[in-house]
């Protein structure tokens, strides 16, 4: 089944997902998304009335642990040093407001 995805739809999704795309990429994803969604349409052949959705293959309650502080192997300095920009133990980001 062929589906159509417009240029505007791809641009809207890219905006939601915070992914910048070139014009070429937009054209390509229009086609790819249409192909994959076309394939996925076959789910509509399945009668799912009165079927409960399933989130994972094992249905059990999560195992909660006690909410207590525990030490990990790494130090705070090691964690901060992974940030692309950091200064004096703080992570630096670009300005949020003009």
């Amino acid at each position: 089944m062929q589906k159509k995805i417009s240029k505007e739809e791809v641009e809207y999704l890219a905006k939601l997902a915070r992914v910048g795309l070139t014009e070429d990429e937009i054209g390509k994803y229009q086609k790819d998304l249409a192909d994959i969604l076309g394939y996925v349409e076959k789910l509509n052949e399945v009668d799912t009335d009165n079927v409960e959705p399933m989130a994972a293959g094992i249905e059990k309650r999560n195992e909660m642990r006690e909410d207590k502080i525990e030490k990990i192997e790494g130090t705070p300095a090691e964690l901060i040093s992974e940030a692309p920009k950091h200064e004096d133990g703080f992570i630096k980001v670009k300005s949020i407001f003009d």
């Binding site: 997902a17 969604l37 399945v46």
Partner: protein, 509 residues
């Protein structure tokens, strides 16, 4: 026999310093052709790895931690699993410089058992793919034919084990990423029950599907690794608690854990290994024979059924009626979870950050445009689409309902049979560059994906070769928590076929 051809079991009596040095030499010898590692010890000692504290002096445990059969044995870790002070890239440019400050729980457990982590195995970027062609660090070819793919996404793990670089590796399986490359490379790959092995420290793809597991040369080796890596973890709330270990006898078990399902959880993988399989009921789903199955794979599969019958097992045709919808449901659920999990790569906390952005929001767009490859973007876009308002019910919710039907198909089947046997993949390893469009690549996982949706344990074991000497695997699928059963069935098959001609084949590289 050279040290690098041996199993974990056979290496027990060897000098562990010699074992390590044999592995490192083998890595130096074949890596230029195989490229099964993104980062490895010889690179580190040459100062070419981006590591903070290159730990080239390994502590070798011949006897000190001799309690575990993994002590002193080298291991490779798929590059989507965090290793403290050893670069972890997910084979993606976005994480080119990422050095985790902590170990994933699987890695922590292995190190505590004395295992020697010699490097990080290549895979498809973010584990997105079925061929390892999608790695930002280049493809890992198949050791049996360098013009073909090693499978994926744990292709580097499977290829490295097949080529004798390491005796075993830890891979991850979301829709077949341990089992399919194991089949393509002629090794053993176990995807445990969802929740059996902790996901803490994995670079997440589909969190309701991801399972770390062993890739080994033999079934017995897979058992030894599982005995170390499986078990509950406070850092992963979906891991399954071991009632028989964490509660002393007589202690009252919390009521919500006292279900029949929880009682069946068994953490002893060795006990049934040699059990006779006479009378075992093996189900073969009839739906699996329409899905693009190649004749040479069908032929090996039929041979394996004859072998099982010769051993006294009974082969029964079963039906898993929703099989043809599983892949479609999987691609909705997995991309939805992927788009959410990849949301964290924003260029702020770690990894790649784009230069020359004017403000924070611009930096997000640029970082994610430049840092993500084609397949990651495709999955983010698709996942965003199926979760977006207006499409959520039609796609995500619909897929989650079909997931239950796939799961119920399996539960019904297990009322009649003990295990289910299928080919692992519809084809042997395909040629590099052969699958150009995304849907045809997705079809490589058609036999492994239903199992992942249902959270079941399954193992791929070598079962024979195609006429042009490419390995072919079969998949044994068990009920939830019944790893011991599928390991038993796999082990018996391995022993029964040990003398066959194809068992003598070795990849030449």
């Amino acid at each position: 026999m050279e040290l690098t051809n041996r199993t974990i079991k056979e290496l027990q009596k060897e000098d562990k310093a010699e074992v390590l040095s044999a592995c490192l030499n083998r890595i130096r010898e074949v890596e230029p052709k195989l490229h099964a590692f993104v980062t490895h010890a010889p690179l580190q000692s040459a100062g070419q790895a981006h590591d903070k504290n290159p730990n080239t002096q390994y502590a070798i445990h011949n006897t000190a931690k001799g309690q575990s059969p993994l002590a002193g044995i080298p291991v490779g870790i798929k590059d989507v699993i965090c290793t403290r002070n050893m670069r972890t890239t997910a084979s993606a440019k976005m994480l080119d410089s990422f050095i985790p400050p902590y170990d994933a729980t699987v890695v922590k457990k292995l190190k505590e058992a004395g295992a020697i982590v010699v490097g990080k195995n290549n895979c498809d970027a973010w584990a997105h793919g079925s061929s390892t062609e999608n790695s930002d660090y280049g493809v890992t070819p198949n050791p049996w034919d360098l013009a073909r793919v090693s499978g994926g996404s744990s292709g580097g793990s499977a290829a490295a084990v097949a080529a004798g670089e390491i005796p075993y590796s830890i891979g991850t399986d979301t829709g077949g990423s341990i089992r399919q490359p194991a089949a393509f490379c002629g090794v053993v790959g176990l995807k445990p029950t969802y929740g059996r092995v902790s996901r803490y420290g994995l670079i997440a793809m589909g969190s309701s599907l991801d399972c770390p597991g062993p890739i080994t040369k033999t079934v017995e080796d897979a058992v030894m690794v599982m005995n170390v890596i499986a078990g509950p973890d406070e850092r992963d709330a979906t891991t399954l608690k071991n009632l028989y270990v964490s509660h002393t006898p007589g202690e009252k078990i919390p009521p919500h854990l006292e279900s029949e399902e929880m009682k069946r959880i068994n953490f002893e993988f060795t006990k049934d290994l040699n059990k006779d399989i006479k009378g075992l009921k093996i189900g073969v789903p009839k739906e699996y024979f329409g899905l693009g199955l190649f004749d040479e794979v069908g032929e090996v599969f039929k041979q394996s059924l004859l072998t099982f019958e010769k051993m006294g097992a009974e082969v029964i045709e079963i039906s898993l009626p929703h099989t043809e919808y599983a892949l479609a449901a999987y691609y909705v659920i997995m991309t939805a979870e992927t788009s959410s999990n990849l949301g964290r790569y924003d260029g702020v906390k770690y990894g790649f950050s784009a230069k020359d952005s004017k403000d924070l929001i611009d930096s997000y767009f640029k970082t994610r445009d430049e840092g993500f490859g084609d397949e990651a973007k495709r999955r983010i876009m698709l996942g965003t689409y199926v979760l977006s308002s207006g499409y959520y019910d039609a796609y995500y919710l619909k897929a989650a309902k079909v997931r239950r039907l796939v799961y119920e198909d399996f539960l019904k089947a297990y009322e009649k049979v003990d295990v289910i046997l299928t080919p692992t993949a519809p084809t042997p390893a395909f040629k590099i560059g052969e699958k150009a469009d995304p849907v045809s690549m997705y079809l490589a996982d058609v036999f492994t994906v239903p199992v992942s949706l249902a959270g079941l344990p399954a193992i791929s074991i070598p079962a024979g070769f195609s006429p042009d000497k490419l390995p072919i695997g079969v998949q044994i699928i068990g009920p939830h928590f019944e790893e011991a059963k599928i390991l038993n069935v796999a082990h018996k098959f391995e022993k029964e076929t040990a003398g066959e001609e194809w068992r003598k084949f070795k990849p030449v590289i």
